[in-house]
């Protein structure tokens, strides 16, 4: 019995597939932990927060999961693209600047060099840095399985802290981001005790397009204020089609308090999170109004 338990506690098989089909076949058989960058999997497994499955699949050699490219009115980012690669991408910097800002603020150089956008999404932390701008930008997750591929808008992808609608037999292969309209600009900001390597107390991605004196295509997403990253739809509605004047900004910040559901934890109280959202959203909207 001791031997059986030991086998169950360890990794019985390590697989490095060379093609997506091979990887999906391994996933279909079940009992698999997926390794990409490993920056979340390793510490979570060591801390006992995640139980390693009998099969460890290293997806790092799958060419189908790489690259950043324009595709059909959007930008397709392979799940294995690292945060450093996003930060170094001229396309991301110019067209998805909200995402670029989050990558610039992400953890540390050592972690950015390894961590992947797919891993950040599948880890599904309510505070995940790339999740907030990707949600604001209306991105979708592309999930593949032996039975076929489906696309899930990020607004439906996250189902709780550390949970997503990805089924165990599915692999996140890419995230697709619609190209923002010309003139769309935004601000990503996060608040914590230090600029680097801190899990956000709260984070915000705010974007809009200036149309004369008013803002259109307003997008506001918030991190660490609900069980999942969320869009602040009521706050967006307040600003949409209006000038970013003091009264509108104050009304939007007030409306955002009805969008969020923060909890108290080791990083901050729910009251503090509400106050930070109210204040940082006003600052961000004021900034976006001047971009």
């Amino acid at each position: 019995m001791a031997e059986v338990a030991a086998v169950l506690d360890g990794i019985a098989r390590y697989v490095v597939p060379r093609t997506l089909d091979e990887a999906l076949g391994v996933l279909a058989a079940g009992g698999v932990s997926i390794l990409a960058g490993g920056t979340d999997l390793m510490p979570q497994a060591r801390a006992g927060r995640v139980r390693l499955q009998p099969v460890l699949i290293n997806i790092r050699r799958l060419p189908e999961l790489t690259g950043i490219e324009r595709a059909g009115g959007g930008i397709r980012i392979g799940a294995l693209v690292t945060i450093t690669a996003l930060r170094d991408s001229a396309l991301v910097r110019e067209r998805l600047h909200l995402l670029w800002q989050a990558c610039d603020h992400f953890a540390s150089d050592q972690i950015r060099n390894v961590a992947t956008v797919g891993g950040n999404l599948c880890n599904a932390s309510p505070a995940g840095d790339t999740l907030i701008p990707l949600l604001a930008l209306g991105a979708s997750a592309v999930l593949a399985a032996t039975g076929g591929t489906r696309r899930v808008p990020l607004g439906e992808f996250f189902t709780g802290p550390g949970r997503s609608c990805r089924r165990p037999e599915e692999l996140l292969v890419a995230v697709e981001v619609p190209e923002p309209p010309a003139g769309f600009a935004g601000v990503f900001c996060k608040h914590g005790t230090r600029p680097a390597l801190d899990i956000s107390t709260i984070s915000l991605a705010v974007g809009a397009r200036r149309d004369g004196t008013v803002l259109r295509d307003v997008r506001i997403a918030c991190g660490a204020v609900a069980p999942t990253p969320i869009r602040a739809l009521q706050a967006e509605a307040v600003v949409e089609g209006r000038a970013a004047d003091a009264a509108t900004i104050a009304a939007a910040a007030q409306a955002a308090l009805a969008d969020i559901h923060p909890i108290s934890d080791v990083r901050a109280s729910d009251w503090y999170r509400r106050e930070m959202v109210r204040n940082l959203l006003q600052r961000a909207l004021s900034h976006v109004g001047q971009l």
Binding site: A6, V7, G10, I11, A12, R13, Y14, V16, L35, G37, G38, T39, M42, P43, A45, R46, A47, L52, L56, N58, R60, T84, A107, S108, D109, Q110, I111, N113, V114, P195, A196, L197
Partner: protein, 159 residues
């Protein structure tokens, strides 16, 4: 116990071939299996940078990397860094600037600094500060470490 896996990689320029448990970290491989103790165990979760090594030319936290993932890659540890010209310049600058106190964080800073110098990302204090944000030092207050990296970036150990 996890299954043993055969891996082949280059370590400080030397090809290596060995078997590692599938759940072993690269830090454990380096320190416990290969005896390269220059790479330090600080926090074990990527917060402190004491275990920084270069993998295919990029700095990474060895504590967060599965050892099996070293297969086919090129690893350089602090022992490899100081064997090169940039590493020697950094070492001399760290000594001259008084950037070493207890010394525990120093190997991680040396490896990260060599990565910054190699990429031309040590052009000024602000850039150096951003570059070392993944490395913690509890002794120096960073001032002398930043001075040392700036000195090495300028090509000497006496500024």
């Amino acid at each position: 116990m996890s299954v043993n896996c055969d891996i082949a990689f280059t370590l400080n320029g030397v090809p290596r071939r060995l078997a590692v448990p599938a759940d072993m970290s690269t830090l454990e491989l380096l320190r416990d299996q290969l005896g390269l103790t220059g790479t330090k165990y600080g926090c074990g979760e990527g917060e402190c940078g004491a275990c920084t090594v270069l993998v295919d030319g990029a700095s990474v936290n060895a504590c967060l990397m599965f050892a099996v993932d070293c297969d086919g890659r090129e690893l350089v540890t602090v022992e490899g860094v100081v064997a090169g010209a940039t590493g020697q310049r950094l070492r001399d600058a760290f000594v001259a600037s008084g950037a070493v106190q207890c010394g525990f964080c120093t190997p991680g800073f040396m490896v990260q600094a060599s990565h910054l110098l190699g990429q031309g990302r040590a052009g000024g204090e602000a850039e150096i500060r951003r570059g070392i944000e993944g490395n913690l030092c509890r002794c120096t207050g960073y001032r002398k470490i930043i001075d040392a990296i700036a000195t090495a970036a300028q090509g000497g150990d006496h500024g």
